[in-house]
Amino acid sequence: MTSASMTQEQTQESDEVLVMAARLGDRRAFNLLMQRYRPIAFAYANATLRHKEEAEDAVQEAFLRAFQSLPKIRVNATWSKWLMQILRNHCIDILRHRKCVQIQPLLDSLPDLGDSPEWAVLKEERREKLRIVIDGLAEKYQIALLMHYASGRTYKEIALALDIPESTVTGRIAGGLRILRERFRREGLL
């Protein structure tokens, strides 16, 4: 069996099988789990922390903690929920730490190099306004909106990341859009 076909075969395995294999020392199985859940984890961390590098660090840390704690997981425990709980806790820790040390995202505010300078400035202004409006939203709306519209995650994935029902995600996004509309009208953006 070639390695490619083996990877294809293992990718179809359920999480439980991969977790069990990882518990028995198969790092390739853990790598497959990582590939499966990294996009959701990054989307959540990025929406929560609003800083790409910090989000990447948080994702790395969460996966490492999950790897170290593999023997603690029970056979019938849900791996994805467990991983996302680790990530949520870690993000809360980072946010707590951030209250003491204020970090400003630098790279995020740089304009795209491919655009003309005028267009880049206009685009950046619009983005800045949008960012201010979104920052004014409650955290629950912010995370749901950013995960859906900035990272392109589905409602199901957002529900998994936030550990809430899918209908609640729909409600939060709808509520966020309503508030955004009100604020856009107030700011004259609509």
Binding site: F42, A55, R74, A150, R178, R181, L190
Partner: protein, 290 residues
């Protein structure tokens, strides 16, 4: 704003975020008649279209996978939590040796000579796996000498998970050691199940055996899973699993033949378990007996 409009706008916002939602007739009629709600719906649509373009698509850097994999490779394999000794190591070792000697002596004197049999396991087992036999010669839930994956706190939960029936039942089986080398060196779900069953973690054992049954579709595994579920105090799951044991295999070519008796005793899974246990037992004097 009217209350009805407020409610309708909530409905419209919720509807707009659902991709495959159809607008109800009442809502559609209201949107056509009420200008405010009509503008609201259009605004929401515009915001929805503008948001993905306005928000920067944040994608994780390509190095993230490599960095993460490199950090994982540096990590040592986490030690599997098992039995934590409250005593110093030498005391634990001495007490283990004494216990093993006592158990070995007891079984050596209890078992007759002809029971020195070697059982080929029902499914691939590690060499040195202890298989329990009932007096009738049927294999029960196998146990293992070598720890595979101890679950955390299994010692704490053990008393809770044993049903009163299981506690009071005297041991009706003896143990023999399987000496056959496993066909596959990889650990199977059945082995994991046997380990948990040996540890008294019957709920986990039932789960693992169910996985094994789902993979192999072997009714014997369903039977063992049922036993484990019964011991775990879950009669509903046990009944389900036993029902699966009694169901004929779908891929059995003989089941389609018109002349074949479906209730033939020789074709039943329970009979196959008995046959397996009796046919696969071969007497070898070199076997280790507990």
């Amino acid at each position: 704003m009217k209350i009805i409009c407020m409610l309708r706008q909530r409905q419209l916002a919720r509807l707009s975020v659902k991709s495959s939602a159809i607008m109800p007739t009442t809502l559609k009629r209201h949107t056509h008649t009420c200008a405010e709600c009509h503008h609201f719906y259009e605004d929401i649509r515009r915001i929805q279209q503008a948001l993905p373009q306005a928000l920067a698509q944040e994608v994780s850097s390509t190095d993230l996978d490599n960095l993460l994999w490199a950090r994982l490779q540096q990590q040592p394999q986490a030690p599997i939590r098992g039995w934590r000794s409250p005593y110093p190591l030498y005391m634990a070792a001495m007490s283990t040796v004494l216990c093993l000697a006592a158990v070995g002596y007891y079984y050596n004197n209890e078992l007759p000579e002809e029971s020195a049999s070697v059982v080929r396991p029902l499914y691939p087992l590690r060499e040195g796996t202890v298989v329990a036999l009932t007096p009738a010669g049927n294999p029960t839930v196998p146990t293992t000498k070598q720890g595979l994956v101890p679950t955390p706190h299994h010692r704490r939960n053990r008393k809770k998970q044993l049903t009163p029936k299981a506690k009071n039942t005297p041991p009706t089986h003896h143990y023999v050691v399987a000496v056959n080398a496993p066909a596959h060196p990889q650990v199977t779900w059945a082995q994991v199940g046997s380990y948990y069953a040996a540890q008294g973690e019957y709920r986990d054992a039932a789960t693992a055996y169910t996985f094994a049954y789902q993979q192999q579709r072997d009714p014997r595994l369903a039977f063992v899973a049922g036993q484990a579920a019964e011991n775990a105090g879950d009669p509903i799951q046990a009944l389900e699993l036993f029902t699966q044991t009694l169901q004929p295999k779908l891929d059995n070519p003989n089941s389609d033949k018109p002349g074949k008796d479906k209730h033939d005793e020789t074709s039943s899974p329970l009979h196959s378990i008995r046959n397996c246990s009796s046919a696969e037992r071969t007497v070898e004097s070199s076997a280790t007996i507990f």
